[in-house]
Amino acid sequence: MQQTPMAERTALAIRDLAVQFESEQGVVRALDGVSFDLHAGRTLGIVGESGCGKSVTARSILRIVDRPGRITGGHMLLDPGTPQEVDLAALDPESKRMREVRGGRIGLIFQEPMTALSVHYTVGNQIIEAVRQHSDVSKEEARNRAIELLREVGIPRPETRISAYPFELSGGLRQRVGIAMALAGDPEIVIADEPTTALDVTTQAQILALLRRLQAEKNIALMLITHDMGVIAEMADEVAVMYLGRVVEFAPVQQVFAAPRHPYTRALLRAVPSILATPRQRLSTIGGAVPHPGSRPTGCAYHPRCSERIGAICMEQRPRPVPSGEAGASCFKDEAREQAA
């Protein structure tokens, strides 16, 4: 087992997190035992096809899962191993403590910044509101802080932009405001759920550069959700690959790209179109589609699509989950390879 370097303090430890959505149609296990750690000053990239549970993970940490979803198991330890350790999974989502954490200790950046912004108020109003929610400052101070935040996220002329309404801003500026909102409570942990998916490549590059700079300045633990392997390569220190509500591979970023261990990771990487492609070059594909989490295949959930299946065991038994904090893949083929080595 290769130990990932852990120079930095662990800010948040997720252990065996399970989330279910129950409806008339049945029970959907959206998350089924997810574990990973976030470290101060480092970026964990979470990648996977849509529907694999990335957003539900983010929303669970902040305890804002949509109804009828609920956490059915696991722990989310803030400041693990310290006297202040607290399990977010055990808190009441509406409790004072949780409200302090949400937007205070942990900031959230959405794919569509308008999710976090109201159309009825100016950008300034909303940031000032957010600042005052998490610190006891006067209106004037909060306003100055808001301007400073807008400047920090690279918005030109923040003194005038503070009185703009969100719809008056371009997509890129809006996402910057979204980031300013997330930073308003001076968080140590920032969760960014596909923050650049709706943006152009150029704007995406700007926003990623901004996130990197802010992280370095504030020593933030960043959890970056994306389905773009390019963004992962660009940003992540460690990578968790998710499939059907489970982490199927976890590894430092170089390792994921140089020597992916899970067949799903390999397939995902092969399917990415390349800017170096030859004319009319075909891509390799992953057969079929992600099954609905409500009808999870038996055994290894990836087996119906896996091109590297090793036998009946894949259909019948569940491979060992990735041990938290260690690089590894949840796959029988990988286990066999490891034993051979």
Binding site: I286, G287, G288, T298
Partner: protein, 385 residues
């Protein structure tokens, strides 16, 4: 032909092993949009309950005379302000539903004769008794009513909700009032719907100055405060008009504002749908304008229009009720909820006969039910909007 799918692994369907899930899946896949809407609607418990409540009220409206126990117009000054009479289910002989008869009492101060319940005389309550004559569904002449008393002297009856000043049975009046109030709402909304769809459709379809004109008209109508506008219009109705004429005039007055809302919904949907990719696709495939509208656009906003309509209906009912309550709407001898409430206007009367206020109950119930129903329909029709 075979298009290259070289790297595709053998696809095995993980669901094949679970026939129940597969059946549910197939049912979902082949469901029409209408079915999906219904399934989504079913999840709104309050809306479903409201649907039943509304169905019940329209049932009452249709069978109002059958449900009425005594003639809602028959006055008898002596039996004014009789409090609600309970039905006693048992007597010393066992199960024998009955109400008490009436006894004439002279008021010691005014020497007026008035009736009050007489526990000594039991009048048996029976189903399907004969009473005043009416036309069932406007077709069949009959005098059978759901229930009534057997025997009894003239003037006696069953007064579940008591009587008003003129001695009319409030319960029976409420049944008939339900018919009038609900039907005027329905008529008003139909007229609004017609105007709204027509003008909203024209506005959305043609755009340009026609749209501009209609939009300004709507803004103008909406900027005039409703109550004074109605009052002015209603006050202008000649006093000599018959009940039927007034009924139609009031319908028109209350739909005057109602159509503007619907026109906005229709126009908005039209404009939105025209830009919708699937409508553009239809146009690009060479479909005619008529086909685009009727095959592709109309079905997509029918559900919105239904939802908007069910939200407009309570406004219509409230309008009629308030106009009549103010004495500007329907006039006696017509019976509507507004007119019933008008009787409860006098605080002194109310102090002596609080049961007159019971006419507010159906109004509140129906309005709430329509609002819940409308919300449910709207969510079900457009879960994302």
């Amino acid at each position: 032909m075979s298009v290259s799918t070289a790297s595709d692994p053998p696809a095995s369907d993980p669901r094949a092993s679970d026939p129940k899930a597969a059946a549910a899946e197939a049912r979902y896949a082949e469901a029409t949009q209408l079915q999906l809407t219904w399934w989504r609607f079913r999840r709104h418990k309050l809306a479903v309950v409201s649907l039943f409540v509304i169905a019940l009220f329209y049932g009452i409206a249709i069978f109002a005379d059958f449900l009425a126990a005594s003639d809602p117009h028959a006055t008898d000054a002596r039996r004014s302000f009789i409090p609600p009479q309970g039905i006693h289910l048992f007597d010393e002989n066992g199960f024998n539903p009955h109400v008490y008869g009436l006894r004439g009492v002279r008021n010691p101060r005014t020497f007026q004769l008035s009736y009050s319940p007489d526990p000594a005389r039991k009048l048996p309550v029976r189903l399907f008794t004969r009473g005043y004559t009416y036309n069932l569904l406007g077709l069949i002449e009959t005098d059978i009513h759901l229930f009534g008393i057997e025997g009894g002297r003239p003037g006696e009856g069953i007064f579940l909700l008591g009587t008003d000043q003129l001695g009319r049975d409030l319960y029976s009046r409420m049944m008939v009032a339900t018919r009038v109030s609900l039907s005027i709402g329905l008529a008003g909304v139909t007229l609004s719907l017609f105007l709204g769809v027509l003008l909203g459709g024209i506005s959305g379809l043609y755009g340009g100055w026609v749209d501009l004109l209609i939009q300004r008209l709507i803004e103008l109508l909406r900027s005039v405060p409703t109550i004074p506008l109605w009052m002015g219009l209603a006050a202008a109705l000649p006093r000599t008009w018959s009940v039927i004429e007034v009924y139609f005039a009031i319908t028109i007055i209350i739909s005057l504002i109602g159509w503007t809302d619907l026109a906005r919904v229709v126009r908005g949907r039209f404009l939105a749908l025209r830009e919708e990719d699937f409508v553009v696709a239809a146009e690009l495939s060479g479909a005619s304008q008529g086909r685009i509208i009727f095959r592709h656009m109309l079905p997509s906003f029918a559900s919105h229009v239904i939802a908007a309509t069910s939200l407009a209906l309570p406004a219509m009912i409230i309008s009629e009720t308030s106009l009549s309550f103010l004495g500007l709407g329907l006039r006696p001898p017509a019976v509507s909820w507004g007119i019933l409430l008008q009787d409860a206007q006098n605080i002194q009367v109310l102090a002596g006969a609080p049961w007159l206020l019971s006419a507010a109950v159906p109004v509140t119930l129906v309005i709430l039910a329509f609002n819940f129903l409308g919300d449910g329909l709207r969510d079900a029709a457009d879960p994302y909007g």
